[in-house]
């Protein structure tokens, strides 16, 4: 029976080690430990162009991540992109005239939503909409505009 017991102990240790590994993968390697998936409140914003913004992209304020993009939808009436963001519960003092931009991290980096606080005394609550937005910068459009203005200069 001593052998049986040692087998039981070793199998138990094996399963415990595997569960620790899974826990490590969940908390340290993947986003389960950090993501505010369940809690937080929703704020929407409409953009004329969402660029290559992705679901789960960060929403940051002053460079600090305060939430994530939860959903990106197309509004077929206004032809706009409706971006739903989930903001952490702790960040509950965002003025309702806050400016929402879509920025790019670095030249080729991924796009994220940057919030610039306005001066209003009222704060946004769950389900509110940020009305002041600026679309993503599309590199091709910028290059096109640049070339166009250069050509105009040359014509003078």
């Amino acid at each position: 029976m001593a052998k049986q017991r040692s087998i039981e102990v070793l199998v138990g240790a094996f399963m415990a080690a595997a569960l620790v590994a899974l826990f490590f993968l969940a908390m340290k390697v993947s986003n389960l430990g950090t993501s505010p998936t369940a809690d937080g409140y929703r704020v929407t914003a409409r953009f004329a162009n969402a660029g290559s913004l992705k679901v789960r992209a960060p929403v940051s304020m002053a460079g600090v991540r305060v939430g994530r993009v939860e959903e990106i939808r197309f509004d077929k009436k206004t032809y706009e992109a409706v971006v739903t963001m989930r903001i952490e519960n702790g960040v509950d003092t965002i003025p309702d005239d806050t400016f929402a931009n879509i920025f790019t991290a670095g030249l080729l980096g991924e796009q994220y939503v940057g919030l610039e606080p306005g001066g209003s005394e009222d704060f946004v609550r769950d389900g509110d909409e940020l009305t002041q937005t600026q679309s993503a910068l599309i590199l091709e459009q910028m290059i096109g505009q640049f070339l166009f203005s250069k050509a105009e200069e040359g014509g003078k």
Partner: protein, 275 residues
């Protein structure tokens, strides 16, 4: 007379043409029959599932055989795979000035692909071959027949616990492999190559999703566990009961399991990550 000789000649020619075709048909039918036997055995194994609950000790011994005894090889391989990934990834990423993404690269490739696949290949070689040899030898020495004589169903008593042992062990080994591999990548990336500690982990956490990546990887491990143990058990059970037969069956078990794992991995990846 001349007419008869002509007929004989014509028949010889026709046979020479038809023989290879018949040979092809025979091997095709043989392969199909083998596939059918494998599926019948699978159903027979599943039918004995209740047996495992009745005798948890049998299952425990098999989790020990397949799982615990594979821990060392799986952990050491995971460590080295993670370390190599970090070295190679650093070389490419540093050319783009994106060393901080090393953590993402190591973790995502381990959790999604390398963890399940390499673990399955290791288990096929380490535990699968042992299962085949064990069952094949039991058949060759007529132990299975002996059990049948005592009105004990050898499939339910011998094969079912081994099948569930593999099924339970594989996902756990996959989790171990991936976790140890990430740690190996961390030692090399942060310790040796000087990637920033915080960036390594935070980039990893922001890009690796638990449900999408980790859980899918473990599910892959589960599927591979079923396939590897099933193939190993079938090859042993179906082996020609001689020394040469068992040896051939063991080889076949490893080769078939490796091919099945790699092919299935493509299908699973396409289903899980291919939108």
């Amino acid at each position: 007379m001349a007419f008869k000789a002509l007929r004989r000649g014509a028949r010889a020619v026709v046979n020479a043409v038809l023989d290879p075709v018949a040979e092809l048909g025979r091997s095709g039918l043989k392969a199909l029959a083998g596939l059918g036997r494998a599926h019948l055995l699978f159903l027979h194994i599943l039918a004995g599932s209740a047996e495992v609950l009745w005798r948890p000790r049998l299952l425990l011994a098999q989790v020990f055989n397949v799982g615990v005894l594979s821990v060392l090889i799986v952990a050491v391989s995971g460590l080295f795979v993670g370390m190599v990934l970090a070295l190679q990834g650093f070389y490419v990423l540093s050319q783009f000035g994106a060393e901080e993404s090393l953590g993402v690269m190591v973790a995502a490739s381990l959790v999604r692909e390398l963890g399940p696949v390499v673990t399955a290949l290791l288990v096929a070689g380490r535990a699968g071959s042992a299962l085949t040899a064990e069952i094949g030898l039991m058949k060759a020495t007529e132990q299975l027949a002996g059990l049948e004589m005592m009105a004990v169903d050898p499939v339910r008593r011998i094969l079912t616990p081994r099948f569930y042992g593999g099924l339970i062990s594989m996902p756990l080994l996959v989790a171990l492999f991936s976790a140890v591999g990430v740690l190996g990548g961390y030692f090399v990336g942060v310790g040796l190559l000087g990637v920033d500690d915080g960036a390594f982990w935070s980039q990893m956490q922001s890009k690796v999703d638990f449900r999408e990546d980790v859980v899918n990887g473990v599910i892959k491990g589960l599927v591979f566990g079923v396939v590897v143990t099933w193939i190993a058990l079938f090859q042993g059970y179906d082996a020609t009961p001689t020394s040469a037969g068992v040896s051939r069956a063991t080889t076949r078990a490893v080769v078939h399991a490796a091919l099945a794992v790699l092919a299935l991995d493509f299908v699973l990846t396409a289903l899980m990550f291919g939108n």
